[in-house]
């Protein structure tokens, strides 16, 4: 059975489109800073997705442009955004209660590393002189029903970021359920890591790149 659904590795926008397509209609979603933010560009009106931003809002709209920009209306990345009909505002403890209480269906995060058991490392390089900053990453990782990671599979040095055990400091333990990369989509479950689809490589070529035993889940489209 072939896992390959694309002849080339996916670019950032194609990957964002794929994640967006995989989000079930009616979901409540938090998109992390950076690459995950791209996902919002590909959500359709029919999907009726409600975006949460941890600084106190549900129903966040697209980035604000020109006269829409309002310093009192920003997202977690401190970018000016807009408000959709049916939005609501709340204070920080109520906002994090939404995340920590398990009410978000999905959060999409970037990562330095993801382990075979779903451990996430995305907040700290571990460099001794780095100024640490964690923000809401640990709350999102621990609280959402599903944690999707978006990242390139390999570092610039060609080393797999899907690893047996994270060497970077952890953000959360066993929290990641799915990993979207330029070369493959990985599903993480108690019985191991399976590959839903590959892009520009075969399952066997992918296994060569990744130091974690993989299973083929078959080319399932959608959730």
């Amino acid at each position: 059975m072939s896992t390959q659904t694309s002849t080339k590795p996916l670019g950032r926008d194609d990957l964002a489109r794929l994640v967006a397509r995989d989000i079930a209609p009616g979901s409540f979603v938090n998109l992390g800073i950076g690459q995950p933010t791209l996902v919002s560009n590909y959500l359709t009106e029919e999907q009726n997705i409600t975006l949460h931003t941890e600084n106190g809002m549900l129903g966040m709209g697209p980035e604000a442009k020109g006269e829409e920009i309002d310093g009192d209306l920003i997202n977690a990345g401190k970018i000016p955004v807009t408000e959709l009909p049916g939005a609501s505002y709340f204070h920080h403890a109520d906002s994090f209660a939404i995340m920590r209480g398990g009410h978000l269906d999905i959060c999409v995060l970037g990562a330095f590393q993801v382990s075979a058991t779903g451990d996430l490392a995305n907040w700290h390089t571990g460099a001794p002189d780095a100024i640490p900053a964690v923000g809401g990453a640990m709350d999102l990782a621990t609280g959402a029903k599903d944690v999707f990671v978006m990242m390139t599979l390999l570092t610039r040095d060609g080393v797999s970021k899907l690893v047996d055990t994270c060497s970077y400091p952890l953000t959360g333990v066993g929290c990641v359920t799915r990993v979207y990369t330029d070369k493959a989509v990985f599903l993480i479950a108690p019985d191991g890591v399976s590959v839903r689809e590959t892009f520009g490589c075969t399952f066997e070529e992918l296994q060569e790149l990744v130091p974690v035993p993989l299973k083929a889940a078959g080319a399932v489209v959608g959730l």
Binding site: G59, G86, Y89, F90, G101, H103, L104
Partner: protein, 219 residues
Amino acid sequence: MLKFIDTVGEAVAGIKDGSTVMIGGFGNAGQPFELIDALLDSGATDLTVVNNNAGQGDQGLALLIKEGRVRKMICSFPRQSDSWHFDAKYKAGEIELELVPQGNLAERIRAAGAGIGGFFTPTGYGTMLAEGKHTRLLDGKWQVFETPIHADVALIKALKADGKGNLVYRKTARNFGPIMAAAAKHTIVQVSEIVPTGALDPENVVTPGIYVNSIVKVA
């Protein structure tokens, strides 16, 4: 996924025997009478009910208790001048009671919705309601460890809902509604009015739609 449902009967149809059901209201204010009546009609039984009281007079929760559907009450103030149905069941040994100080009840429900695994509070320290509980000296006060109260279902009453399930309440009928909506796996709301999405000011939404599963308009 949020559903707008035509009748209270359909709204409560999925509630299984043995469920833990939170019911909003403080006394009669905010009590979702129509949903409770539908729950009674549904035949669901062996329920654990979380409410501040244990029913007043001959309506709502009091009838659910009278009909023997409630195995256990978790509440702060069961004994009232008109709590005769609870009183009779309790004296007959036919209903279990977990008595919780009202602030602990509220905070334990809030904890369930907010993903808090437990907390320490000075309330109840040194009293019989803290017997057997873990205690600890924190912030210079002896405090008691309390755990969250989760529920399968919440039945609550709000004033208005919009198309996204955002809710606003009316005066002191708000009481337990917002925290129960967050603490239950499935929240069913009866409202007086459904307004178009966008008609509620986002600054004034009390319960965001993320906490709401089913909405039914009651005349």
